[in-house]
């Protein structure tokens, strides 16, 4: 009985993993085959469409980076009379508020909201909701404090709203401090796969384009209709993405709207950030999976893609489980249903060809970006995958435990930024 159960578990997990791998291949092949066509066919919105825009910048203890972002806000090419920049100083204990105030005094379109200890520090969603109350623009954009956008990013994002069916947009995230060390280089590769291939393919194939929480925006009307950000969610961006799609709206991805982020630069920081993402994603999976399946606003393909997206952080756990299960089943030859030939053949195909899929996606992303050396580190992404196994397992167990005891454990472990990207700004300054 136990063997049959293990076999069934193995087959099920292999099928789910195969679905993810096939998705990687499909996305990559689609971008390779149709990428140029999509680029030329794209109408790139309406450049003359210039509505009023509010930019929300939540900031908690960001004194090392907030100055460069606010300086960049003053350099944006979007008409300043249609721009409102709102900095939400979320109970900072450093000089963040003071730096923001200096810009506010100098530039009339910069506004600072100070949140005290009693109301602030409850996470990004809470800070964004506080900022939203002050937003006057027709369009609301969000940027994290450690980001550094292109000068014309507002035009690039906003022009998509000329299309009345577009209710939300997402731009591309590129790592600013890529050369800093191996962690930042690997994060940069992950970002390349995610934004150059994954998001582009999802958008063009009419699937679920993910709002990444920053470098993106919405019609204010939509945010108000949805009730803003859910403060109970750790991955407030993924949650909002699914709320948007479940309400019958869509997110548009704008590949050429680039923003440069300061990536985590140590394995400890990587752990903390991914742990928060994993737990938040899993929360979203519990919250939205059923609604997604029942929705009459989404197509079958969108539902499948949505489910794969929602459950993506369960993958490392699933892979690890299937490895554990496969050892007694196949190596010790306990398998009863499958003949040894098919077992060996499927393992070979799956291990060698299937597992190549995520590397393929990242490699093609780097290739399309014209990178000539970055892809040499691609094999090391296997290490980051292995590192994600304990991260996601811990996130899952913590979430399960908190659900069992009925305790809300949504502690927002904020990523600290030390301005390590400042020395690389010069390269991106003219863009």
């Amino acid at each position: 009985m136990l063997i049959e159960f293990l076999e069934a578990l193995f087959l099920l997990s292999t099928m789910v993993m195969a679905a993810y791998l096939i998705r990687h291949y499909l996305f990559t092949i689609a971008v390779l085959k149709f990428g140029k066509k999509w680029k030329t066919a794209s109408n790139h919105g309406n450049a003359s469409y210039q509505p009023t825009v509010s930019i929300l910048i939540p900031a908690r203890n960001e004194e090392h980076v907030i100055g460069r972002l606010l300086q960049r806000m003053t350099e944006l090419t979007y008409p300043k009379d249609k721009l409102q920049v709102i900095v939400i100083d979320d109970a900072s204990r450093d000089g963040t508020g003071k730096i923001a105030e200096q810009y506010s005094e100098k530039y009339s379109y910069v506004k600072v909201i100070h949140r005290g200890e009693h109301e602030g520090g409850r996470g990004k969603a809470s800070a964004l909701n506080a900022g939203l109350k002050h937003a006057l623009g027709e369009i609301v954009l969000c940027f994290d404090a450690d980001y550094y956008p292109q000068k014309d990013i507002v035009e690039k994002l906003v022009k998509e709203f000329a299309d009345p069916t577009v209710w939300a947009v997402q731009g591309r995230v590129v790592v600013l401090n890529e050369p800093q060390n191996v962690v930042t280089r690997l994060v940069a590769l992950e970002r390349t796969g995610g934004y150059r291939v994954d998001q582009e393919a999802r958008d063009r194939l009419g699937l679920i384009t993910q709002f990444g929480g920053t470098v993106g925006g919405f019609r204010r009307q939509l945010l108000e209709k949805l009730g803003g950000w859910d403060e109970q969610m750790l991955a407030e961006d993924t949650d909002l993405t699914f709320r948007i799609y479940l309400a019958g709206y869509k997110v548009k991805y704008v590949l050429d709207a680039e923003c440069y982020e300061e990536a985590v630069d140590s394995w400890q920081a990587y752990w903390r950030q991914r742990y928060r993402w994993a737990k938040g994603h899993m929360q979203c999976a519990f919250k939205h999976a059923l609604n997604l399946l029942k929705s009459d606003k989404l197509t079958l393909i969108q539902k499948i893609d949505g489910l794969l997206l929602l459950n993506v952080y369960f993958m490392p756990i699933l892979v690890f489980t299937s490895w554990i299960v496969s050892i007694p089943l196949f190596v010790l030859k306990f398998c009863r249903w499958l003949s040894p030939f098919w077992v060996a053949a499927s393992i070979s195909m799956y291990s060698a060809v299937g597992n190549f899929a995520p590397f393929y996606e990242v490699g093609v992303g780097a290739y399309l970006d014209g990178r000539t050396r970055a892809q040499w580190l691609i094999p090391l992404l296997a290490f980051t995958f292995l590192y994600n196994v304990p991260i996601c397992t811990k996130a899952f167990l913590d979430l399960l435990f908190s659900k069992l005891i009925g305790k809300n454990s949504n502690h927002w472990d904020k990523t600290a930024h030390f301005g390590n990207g400042n020395c690389y700004i010069a390269i991106f300054q003219k863009r």
């Binding site: 030859k333 291990s351 490699g363 970006d369 892809q375 040499w376 580190l377 094999p379 296997a382 390269i427």
Partner: protein
Amino acid sequence: MKSMVFGLVIGTLMVVFFHLLYVPSEVLQALLIFNIFFVCVYFPLNGPLKRKVAVLLAGNVICFLWNMMFSIFVCAVSAYLSGDFNALLAFLNPLLNLLWMVSFWSIGLTFLAEAKPEGWEKGAH
């Protein structure tokens, strides 16, 4: 599409060549999988055909050497240990093949990337 067909022909010729050298069947299988797979993921990319063929040939040599060494290792181990360990090696072999294939493919991309390095690769980083 033409370059892919050409690549497949080259790959098939390489497998036939190694077959004539009486290499073990598991090495031939690995070569066959490598050739089909590599042609599918490498040849559709833009770049000179000569370079693609050169990289494919180099990959065949590495694939042959790697799998021959592994095959000899398995033979040596199986003389001393039980069949269970062989099963474990058979299980690990595709994963180990994957590691060198990913590394080889990623380096191979460098030869095809249109020389338009941006950002970091533009400077002296």
